[in-house]
């Protein structure tokens, strides 16, 4: 607080600048959190890092550049698995999300006893990262693409249901009410009054989540859930060059998915 007095006699007080408070809180948080980071300075080995990077992007030992890029061709099958896993998981998870999202939308089922518990359940599923779902799935179903599929389905279900119910709540309710009053059940009213309004957005979210899932599924294999991730896990100890080649392939694949995703979502607008 500073008080200013002007020549004319009037005075005015400048209120305290909130920015300092925010910076102060941030500083406290930084210092506090730093205490929880364990690290061993002795383990830092930057030259090792450089060595690894070099190994990743040059052919190992007696292999030639031909081998290096040739390896990419062997990745065809895992890549297809990854994409399949993502696509199927996204679609199934999204479809599962639809009824749940409807239940969670305040404007369809107005009772608190319906939407509050559903939302809580949704939040619970959403907190679990895909990778962890994959670990659990692998335990039950074994190593392979199926566990990845299950993990992605559940993960998609979690995000899509929240995104979907938020969209449903912004929808124009008048046609819905009109249909209900003419005797339609909630389902019918939803199908004909609400669904057409949200379908383009639903598709847009579907594509967006697919993009996220391709990224996620590429690494789920690391814990055994199939796809390219497994190739990385198999080679990470001794064949850095193969890991590097895989990463490069992955880079282009994700880039392609991103372009396609942006293009399609742009056209949906």
């Amino acid at each position: 607080m500073t008080k200013f007095t002007l020549k004319s006699g009037s005075s005015i007080t400048k209120p305290f600048n909130k920015v300092w408070i925010i910076l102060g809180v941030l500083l406290i948080l930084i210092v506090t959190f730093s205490f929880f980071i364990r690290f061993e300075p002795s383990l830092i080995n930057l030259s090792e890092l450089g060595v690894i990077l070099e190994k990743m992007f040059t052919p190992k030992g007696e292999r030639t550049w031909g081998d290096y890029f040739g390896f990419v061709f062997t990745l065809w099958e895992p890549l297809v698995s990854t994409l399949e896993m993502s696509l199927a998981g996204t679609i199934i998870g999204s479809l599962m999300a639809v009824p749940v999202a409807i239940l969670a939308a305040k404007n369809i089922f107005k009772s608190k006893f319906v939407y509050l518990p559903i939302r809580f359940f949704m939040n619970l599923i959403r907190t679990i990262p895909a990778m962890i779902l994959a670990v659990v799935a692998v335990y039950f179903v074994g190593i392979g693409v199926l566990s990845g599929l299950i993990a992605i389905t559940l993960f998609t279900f979690g995000i899509m249901s929240k995104m979907l119910y938020e969209v449903i709540e912004t929808v124009d309710m008048s046609p819905f009410e009109a249909l209900e009053s003419s005797g339609a059940t909630k389902t019918q009213a939803f199908r004909y009054a609400v669904f057409p309004q949200i379908f383009p957005v639903f598709l847009s979210y579907l594509i967006y989540i697919f993009e996220i899932n391709v990224r996620a599924s590429a690494v789920l294999g690391y814990v055994g859930a199939g796809g390219i991730g497994m190739v990385i896990k198999d080679n990470i100890l001794y064949n850095y060059d193969r890991v590097g080649a895989t990463v490069i392939l992955l880079f282009f694949v994700i880039l392609a998915v991103q372009f396609m995703s942006n293009y399609l979502r742009g056209k949906l607008q």
Partner: protein
Amino acid sequence: MTNLEKVLKNKPKTWIINSIFTLIVLIAVIFSFKGSSINMLRFNSIGITIRIMVTQMADLNIDFLFGRGVYSFQEGVVFLTLETLAIGFLGTLIGAILALPFSFIAAKNVVGSKFAKIGETILVIIRVFPEVVLALVIVKGFGMNALTGVLTIGIHSIGMLGKLFSEAIDNMDKGPLEALDAVGANTYQKIRYGIIPQIAADLSSVTLYRLDINVRSATVLGIVGAGGLGSSMILAAENSNWDILGTIMLAIIIMVLIVDAISSHLRAKLV
């Protein structure tokens, strides 16, 4: 044919596209079954297994929770959760600060369309690199500890936040910049008084959103050795220590819910 029948005939045949999609999905699902060796033993006993899991999970291991008894404090869930939070927080902070200069070189408003494309490409390269692979590489240089986690999340966030920041810069109102030009401000002053006040709120909102995601990532990165809950978790799963796993999962859920709530609340206040 009557007119009505003609119109009906010409109705867009969406069912074709729908069937194709359904077919693709079905094929994908079937192939994924083929590709995995379902552990039939576990699959058959799924009901029993789940029951055991759930009862063991519910039986919270207090020692493990606080790091007493057999477990050192640093192995306890409380510590690990805080460490995970710390990794997420510090990683996001570093990422946000470093993302700023990158976002300037990717923003058309600042460097013009041609250079912006170069900046964007750099950001895309950083972004597309999967976090897990990044962690695997960094772990070699910095050891299996929390520092790796912070660096991984930091670097990955540069890519993510850099893009969102540059979009915020491109969307801003150019009027105040014109006024600052007319007043005689130099480039730094224009950034400080024209750009930063306008985008600060957007940037904070985006960063908070990223924090939410990064805290979840932090739990996962532990699996490859970046500190936090992830490593204990995978160990517990492999050894079927459901009580430990249960405690960890509970901690993750609580932590994420809290961070989510704080993040949403603050973001609402920023609008």
